[in-house]
Every structure is written in C-alpha cells, then in structure tokens.
Point group: C2
Chain length 429, copies 2
C-alpha cells in the first residue's frame, strides 16, 4: 500500500467522526508586524563578537496586550526566564526586548541585568518595566554587558517600524544561518485576524523547547486564559516536536501578545468556532516556524520529518516520532543518505512506548518518490539506488505505519553532520 | 578546594560509617580463559564483508556452569535474546557462541537461525542446545547467513584453546578499533578465584547497555541466584553507566558463567564476606571493560569520565552523571577541548533530577592538571590556556560537586567527533 493510500484510509475514518470544516488560513507578509498595532526593530549593540551582526531586538505594541508564555523545563533557568515569570503574573505585556550573543544564564548579576533590560526598554517606550518581556540567547556563564544594551536602547526604540520584523528576526539569531519569520491571517467573526512570529534556533534544541526563542504577535481579541491555553496546545504540537541535538536549553521560551485590535467579538469560550479557528491558525504558524528551526539545525543539510501513523494513541505516536528524529544513529544515516531502517525500529524500541514491531511498516518519501523498506518488522528487498535518490533530497520523510489505530503524530529534526561537530567543538570563540 | 580535598572530606565521612577492609583484586592475563575450566576460540566464517576479519567466537567450559544474564531493555529485541531467555530458564549453560557482522534483529527466520546456532555449537561440543548461549551483533534487518556458521563450526570447535580469549575478543568486534579483554583474581575462602571477560562496542551505546556484548567467565562456586544478583548490581554500575550516542541497541547483553572449579566454599549468602569480595572483583572487571567500551566509542578521540560528587542520593548522582556524558553539546565541546561548562550545568538541569545549581562546583581534571571553572553555579574567571591543556589529554574527567550530601556516581562516555558522523553516515556498506 502507498503512503497516500494509508493516509486516505485514516482520513476516511476520521471523517465519519463528524469534524467541522477547516478555516481558511493564508500566509501573509511582515512577520510580527503583520497584526495591527505592532512595530519591531533590530540593531547592533556589539554583544555578538562577529562584526556587523545585529544582536538586539525589540517588539512593541501601541496598546497593552494580553500575554501568555511557556518556558524551558530545564531545572537550570536563565535569569530572564525568572524575570518574565514575575512580569507576566498579571497576564499583560506591551513589549519584548531580546539580545543574542549572551544567554545571561549562570552568569554574575543575572536577574539584576535582566531587570535592567526591562527598565531600559520601559524608559525608552514610556511603559512600565513590568510590561516588558526580556529574553537572552548565546553563551552561558558570562556576565551580560548591560551597558551596551543601555547605550543602544534610544537608537533601537527610534528604529521601531511596521517593517521591522525582519531586522528583529536577524537580531535574535545565534548560529542560525537564516532568519525565521512567518505570518498568517484567518477570518474570525467577519474580521480578519492576523498572527505573526519570529523564531531563532539552532543548537541545544530538543522536544522541551531547545534554545529556541519564539515571539508571536496577534491582533485577535481573546481572554488571557484562552490565549495561554491556545499557546500551550500549539507549542505541544510544534516547538515541542522538534529536536536538533537532544539538549534542552536554559533559555527557551515562546510568548504571545494579543492586542485585540482586529475587533472580532472577544473569544471567551474554548468550545466556540472562533477559538478553534484561532488555535488552528496559531498551530499552522507555530508548526511552520518549528520546521524552519529543525531545517536550520546546527550543521543540518536536510529536514527530516517523522510521521508515526496508525497508533492507538497520539501520545504513543508522539513519543516514538520524537525518539526517531532524536536518534544520533538515524540522523547520521540520513546525512549519509543510507536507508538504514533498522535504526528507526531500534529508536522506536527504546522510546519507552509499547508497540508490536511485527505489525510495523517503514517507508521513506521525498520529492524523488517513495519506497517501503520494512514490512511487518522485517527487511524488504528494496531498490537501494532509488532509496539513495529519495534520501538525497533536502526534505525527507520517514513514514511509519503501526497498524494499531487511527492516531498520528509528526516530529521534525535534521541530519547529524560534520558541521554540527565543527560548530559545537568551539562554540565560545 | 581541590578535587582531592573534596574526595578526602567525603571519604572521612564514609569511614565513620564502619566499612570493612577492601579485598585485594589483581589484574591477570588470558581474559575469559583465565578462570579454571574455560576454553575459547575465534575464527572467520565470512559474515563480515571485510576480508581477513574474524567474525565467529566460541567460549566453552569443560563442566556445566551456573549462568546469569541481563538483556537490552529495547522493546525491539534481536532473535538471539529471545532464544537465550528460553535457554537460561534453568540457570545453566556451558558455551557461548557469537557472530559479528549481522545482528539477526528484525531479520527473516530470526529465531529459527538463532536456534540453529545453538544446535550447531551443541553438536560440535557434545552438549545440549539448551546449554548454549547465542549472540549476534552487526547490521539489523538482514537474514543471517546461517550456512556459513554451520560450515565454520568444526574448525571453530577444533580451535578451542586456553589461549583463545584474544581471538574470541577479536571475533565479536564490529566498529571497535581494538579488542577488549580483561581478567582479575581475588582470594575467597583461602582459594584464588578468577573472573575473565571480553566485550565489544562501539556505537548504539547508551546507559541501558548499548550494542555491547559482554561475556564473563569465573571459576567461583556460587549459587545461581547470587550470581544473577551480583551481575545485576555490577552491570548497573558499569555497562549501564556508559553512553556513546544515546541509542540503546536491540542486541545488548551481558552474561556470566560460573563453573565452581576454584573450589571455594559455595557462596550462598549475600551478607557473607565471600559474596562481597566476589561482587567487588566482578565490579572491577565490569567497570574496566565498560570504560574500554566508552574509550573506543565510534569515532571517539578521548575518554570522558563524569564524577557527580556530594549528592544526597546515588540515584540522583547517577541520573545527572549520565545526562552529562550523553549530551551531544558537551561531547562536541570535549572534542574541541572547549571548557564550555555551561553545557554541563545545562545537561544536569534537563536530566530530571532535582538539585540546587547555585551550590554546584564544576572542575576539569586530567594528567595535565585540574581547574575549577564554575563556583556556586556561576562562571569563574579561569586560565583558558590551562583549561585547553587539561582537556587535550586522552582521558578527561568532569568533576561536579553538588554540596548536598555524601553520595557519588561515576559515568563514562566519549567525545563526539567528525569520525562518528562519518562511520554512521554509511554503516551498512
């Protein structure tokens, strides 16, 4: 059976359960500045050692926003995380200030410097320091050069612009090779609602967030409680479904500001169609950014998608899909375009999830075609040359059918390359 | 405070708890053939594609042995594992037959071929097939060429010799760059008891065993129950404390045969001094072999030891030590001789164990000296040149003091190198 046939069989089953029609979600320009009311900027303040690289980003909203965030699960948290937890207690914020080049984690005067970042931004923007979310990313254990941020703040505030999303996306990059920004629109209650986001990777990335910073803006009108709930649910299916190297960072966070300027009837019930449409659009945005983070993983030469189909529960499918894309051996095989499917079964086997490998099918798929390599847990004689061709593409899917049920989960990762080792052998210099 | 001072302070505390004197354990020659009664051999049967490489090993005891084993925790287990579980139900065995080059996992006719291996060995040795332990290691998903094993069996049995441990150690290697064998002696009840072992690595290695095969022989007289208990306890502190790449194999096992020919009074109480002396010697042997597996991890250029000192419980110390030596980012930094201690704290933080990082000290130590890089969770200004010199040695220790209690755990790993990626990018060819 082809992958499409398997998916179709699953979809037919799902349709009988009576789902409503999907909202139309459209990709739009301008990243975090796409939603009404938001401005952004990115400048160089010289914390990054590389010349000419921007390293200080600011996102600002003309009005006060409902705000929600999720943070790293690492027991060792960077100072800005603790400061943000305090600042977001009232569920309100109006600006995000982030630097790259220094993580302000395990560093002298950490919380003091993170509070100073808030204070400098607040003074430049004429708002309360409690309404500023701060974030840092870069090397751990070195004191933040806070004077450089103070010095750059007037120029940063002055640079705020409705076209500034791209600069902000550049300024939060560390070892990322390109900036990540995206925006979508969706109709809710006869109004056009927009959601925009910028993200950075690209190492120390693992299911519980990784060194990812994800800043999202939206003009939807929604209660703070439902904004937090939508963010939690979407992060679970996007940023928590990627892995670059198995290391969960001290600094990860995703946050969202919602200013309500789209003027839709306020979303206050999680059963409403409006909520479901907003969540669907937010999920599309988060998955897009998450895939970009995986694709641009340190040293990566290709994006690996693992689809775990036909599971009895989504949780089990998720555990196994994450285990596959996290396996160093599978990742190295993908780098070598080697159809070593035994490592995929092996990674599913040590994931902790229970399954019957003798009912398991494994396929590889890409723009160059698809090929089944394992049937009912046993090796198939397959065309090695076709397999190599399929695995040589820039986007490769590992499709596993468990033949146990109708649940599916998708996870994203990248290959393990010489460059990953090179980049991380001497990161601090 | 220096590392020695910290350890001394801990030892002084331990001494007040009234431990008995340690038995004298001496390294001896001849590997698995060191204990009385054991013979071994290794030959080439042409399963491995590389010319001239041995790929079939046999260990045989003149008399029936008490036998114990521990197996991979991977849900996907290779066929020989299932066969061994059956064969060892009576706690007795007399021979071990192992091939390299093919894992006989997820392969057509897996259990049938594993049973055939037992039958061929039994016929050649004149024993019951149920007294043969079988093992396979190599590529997953390809049918075992059982005829080659059948054909080679007479020559293999004929080659059995009290000097055959080295050949057997060579014949179980896959991507190992050198053979691993070791033996120790210890006095128990006025008799000299010997323990010998051979092991193979070297990728797909993670705390729950890895693709490690570990065959251990001893002439101690001990009940089967206590033999199993001693093996379980020692594996926990040795083979389960190493990681090369985070992948737990389908084929891992450690087994031990005890023939009683040392003629010591049978060990039947786990409280006896004799049991404790045997267990101590077995632990020394297992730790030696485990460290060799880590040192020779795929592509490794150095052995990394992580000592987690001053913990409130050994379990917690073990979780964090394993997390550190498993971290790709830490491993890549070790390859680059980069004293990036933030990654160590980060790996401890996401391990799941609870600790107060603001009480944590981090040191690096090797033959070139020692250096403290982190004090109470904060970066210290340290001599980068000295740090680089220390980290350039072939054996490097990451010493962490948690300042919470008196428990310690040690784990071993290796650095992540270009060669790891190269080896695993195209393993099957």
């Amino acid at each position: 059976m082809s992958i499409e046939d398997i998916i179709a069989a699953n979809k037919n089953f799902s349709n009988t359960t009576g789902k409503t029609e999907k909202p139309v979600i459209t990709a739009i320009a301008d990243g975090v500045c796409a939603p009404k009311g938001f401005l952004a900027a990115g400048v160089r303040c010289r914390i990054k050692k590389t010349p000419d690289k921007k390293d200080l980003a600011l996102i600002f909203c003309r009005v006060s926003c409902n705000a929600a965030a999720v943070y790293t699960k690492n027991k060792v948290k960077a100072a800005p995380i603790y400061v943000d937890m305090q600042h977001l207690r009232d569920g309100k914020a109006q600006a995000i200030l982030a630097n790259s080049g220094n993580a302000n984690a395990c560093a002298p005067n950490g919380e003091e410097n993170a509070e100073k970042m808030s204070a400098y931004a607040a003074a430049a923007l004429g708002i309360s320091p409690k309404d500023v979310i701060v974030a840092s990313t870069g090397v751990i254990g070195v004191e933040l050069e806070i004077a450089k941020i103070e010095e750059a703040m007037p120029a940063l505030a002055k640079a705020l612009s409705p076209k500034g999303s791209h600069d902000a996306a550049l300024a939060i990059m560390t070892s990322d090779t390109y900036e990540k920004e995206y925006a979508v629109s969706v109709e809710i209650g006869n109004k056009i609602v927009k959601i925009g986001g910028i993200s950075k990777g690209s190492g120390m990335i693992h299911p519980n967030m990784g060194t990812t910073l994800n800043f999202i803006t939206t003009d939807v009108d929604i209660t703070q409680e439902l904004l937090q709930k939508a963010l939690n649910d979407c992060v679970k299916k996007s940023f928590n479904r990627i892995s670059v190297d198995g290391d969960t960072s001290t600094n990860d966070m995703a946050c969202i500001l919602a200013d309500g300027l789209a003027a839709n009837p306020v979303i206050s019930s999680e059963k409403s169609e409006a909520y479901l449409a907003f969540k669907e659009a937010l999920e599309v945005l988060c998955i897009h950014l998450a895939k970009e983070l995986a694709r641009d993983g340190e040293g990566a030469s290709r994006l690996i998608t693992c689809t775990m189909n036909g599971a009895s529960t989504e949780e089990k499918a998720e555990i196994m899909a994450k285990s596959v894309i996290s396996s160093n051996l599978t990742k190295a095989a993908m780098f070598g375009c080697d159809a070593n499917w035994g490592r995929i079964l092996c990674a599913m086997g040590y994931s902790g999830a229970d399954f019957d490998y003798e009912k398991t099918q494994v396929y590889f798929r890409s723009a160059a075609g698809e090929i089944q390599v394992c049937e009912n847990g046993r090796g198939l004689a397959f065309d090695e040359e076709l397999a190599k061709k399929i695995l040589s593409e820039e986007e490769v899917e590992i499709f596993v059918d468990l033949n146990e049920g109708t649940e599916t989960a998708v996870a994203w990762g990248c290959d393990l390359t010489y460059d990953y080792v090179k980049i991380n052998g001497d990161y601090r210099s």
